[in-house]
């Protein structure tokens, strides 16, 4: 059964007010509690370890899968392995996400290991939102590992957002792109208080004319720390662009470590990284419209992370 807290978490991470339409699997406190499959999308519980296989039939168009995870029990360390088979020429949206409510003194942790096979010509949009709440002293910890292989002509579009309330996170994303495959990553990270976040994104551009675009934006406030390690490796004629932009405030610390490696003379790789406070010309412009400095700051940060 879903409690009021559960429903609130679901809304935050998956924009869900009720149980979703289409295929879904809701996991609560380490156990699957609700599931629906469709004619084109099957969800099977793994036998050897915790987790599910999500199988999308070739040619499936315009369907979505929701696989939210909610944790509201302190002291729980939930590790889950999910495998996604995105069939040839399909076009689907997968909405994952994890919401933690911790009102206790022990830590709560969710480590989601997600492996995707995006088959030939398929288009997958993957949306992952992370959110924590609760007034307990126990830490809310999320360590997602995302492994993606995109076959010829496939497209993987990732939206990875950490909204708020996550104390510790290490995000690992490893992607392999084959011929003509495309990757578009949009990462948004917000830390405050004494939160720690680390994001490692490794993209191997193996196939001819493969391309990757990674846009990461973050805001670090209070005493929080962020580390970004982004690496593009070009093994063929390919194009890759990483844009890593951080706004730093208060006593926060941000490290952005760029790495691009080319193993083919036709590889074109660009890495842009910038860390800085909110630009004063932006603040002043909004203040000349009648906003206070605090209001201007809030609008700039909301837009930047939006």
């Amino acid at each position: 059964m879903l409690t009021a807290i559960d429903k609130d978490l679901l809304e935050k991470i998956a924009d869900l007010h009720e149980v979703p339409h289409g295929a879904y699997n809701i996991r609560k406190d380490g156990k699957g509690i609700s599931r629906n499959t469709t004619a084109n999308i099957d969800i099977i519980t793994k036998q050897d370890k915790p987790g599910i296989d999500i199988i999308i039939k070739p040619g499936t168009k315009g369907e979505s899968v929701h696989i939210p995870v909610i944790l509201s029990k302190e002291g729980l360390c939930d590790v889950v392995y999910n495998t996604f088979e995105i069939g040839e020429d399909s076009d689907v949206v997968i909405v994952a996400g994890c919401g933690i409510h911790n009102s206790g003194s022990a830590d709560e942790q969710h480590d989601g290991i997600h492996e995707f096979f995006v088959r030939k010509g398929a288009h997958m949009k993957y949306v992952e939102k992370h959110y924590g709440e609760g007034d307990g002293t126990g830490q809310r910890i999320l360590n997602p590992k995302t492994i993606i292989e995109v076959e010829e002509g496939g497209v993987a579009e990732l939206e990875m957002i950490q909204i708020k309330g996550v104390d510790q996170t290490v995000r690992d994303t490893d992607v392999i792109l084959h011929k003509n495959a495309r990757l578009i990553v949009s990462e948004r990270l917000h830390t405050y208080l004494d939160q720690n976040a680390e994001s490692n994104i490794n993209v191997k551009l193996m196939g001819e004319d493969s391309s990757a675009q990674v846009i990461s934006r973050s805001v670090a406030q209070d005493d929080s720390k962020q580390v970004f390690h982004m690496n593009l490796l070009g093994y063929n004629k390919c194009a890759g662009h990483i844009q890593c932009d951080s706004i730093i405030m208060d006593n926060a610390k941000v490290s952005s470590i760029p790495e691009i490696s080319a193993f083919d003379s036709e590889a074109q790789l660009i890495h842009e990284a910038a860390i800085g406070k909110i630009a004063s010309d932006q603040l002043i412009k909004l203040m000349t419209l009648g906003l206070s400095e605090k209001e201007a700051e809030a609008i700039i940060l909301k837009g930047f992370l939006g």
Binding site: L286, L291, I299
Partner: protein, 253 residues
């Protein structure tokens, strides 16, 4: 005529590498309701600083600024904005993640002006622009037009435009002139434009010539342009240099 804004003996002094630099010296100016003023003068004469001092962006070192008779010298940028002063920047800020629509909504506040109309007035099609971020994908000219639109949308007592024509192509230049004229006819806003352009100077009820941080002349645009053309008549190079310019481009014509 009603005085909207008065500057009494205003000085702006900044700390530079070689000690204090006087940017504005003993400025006494009166701006009346529903008039257009064009401030002109050589580079470095203090034009932008004067506009920024009125908006509260650059603090004044001494003197007084009065709006409707009330001293606003110690008021913040936000407070002055709420009192009805607006400023269109010479180099507008770019924002990652702020859409044109959002900017115009913030500018308009409770004003019910249509964003579409504001963009049309600066020669942009709203369908192409409202949902775009005001970021580096915009050209300098586009950015400038959106900046001007954000001022047109406000109900202001005084609108300051810092070199609005910079980066605007010739076709939209005519539109810009018409926009100023329309704003002038429609509202009682006092318009202050920093410019060197003859066509903008022609809009002015009064031309204020700044030189080396002081007001060297207040005149009509007819007299000002007549003087320029007289100077130009003996000029071989047709440069619009003004004697006493920051780079000492002296000219004895």
């Amino acid at each position: 005529m009603i005085n909207v804004l008065k500057m009494n003996n205003v000085n702006v002094t900044l700390n530079g590498n070689d000690g204090k630099i006087e940017i504005l010296k003993n400025i006494d100016l009166t701006f009346e309701e529903n008039k257009i003023y064009v401030i002109t003068g050589p580079n470095g004469s203090g034009k932008s600083t004067l506009a920024k001092a009125i908006m509260g962006i650059t603090p004044i070192s001494s003197g007084q600024i009065l709006l409707d008779g009330n001293d606003i010298s110690d008021k913040s940028i936000t407070e002055r904005a709420k009192l009805g002063i607006g400023y269109a920047f010479q180099t507008p800020a770019r924002f990652k993640g702020l859409k044109v629509k959002e900017m115009l909504d913030l500018a308009k506040g409770r004003n019910d002006t249509e964003s579409c109309q504001l963009l049309y007035d600066v020669g942009l099609c709203s369908q192409d622009y409202l949902d775009r971020d005001i970021d580096s994908t915009f050209s300098g000219g586009e950015l400038k037009r959106i900046e001007i639109a954000s001022i047109l949308g406000r109900d202001l007592k005084m609108a300051l435009f810092d070199e609005p024509e910079a980066g605007i192509d010739l076709w939209s230049f005519q539109r810009l002139i018409e926009t100023f004229e329309k704003m002038h006819q429609r509202y009682k806003t006092t318009i202050v434009i920093i410019s060197h352009q003859e066509r903008i100077l022609r809009l002015a009820d009064e031309v204020i010539l700044l030189n080396d941080g002081t007001v060297s002349e207040i005149t009509s645009h007819e007299k000002f342009l007549e003087k320029i053309s007289r100077l130009n008549s003996g000029c071989d190079c047709k440069n619009d240099c003004i004697k006493g310019g920051a780079f000492n481009a002296d000219c004895d014509r």
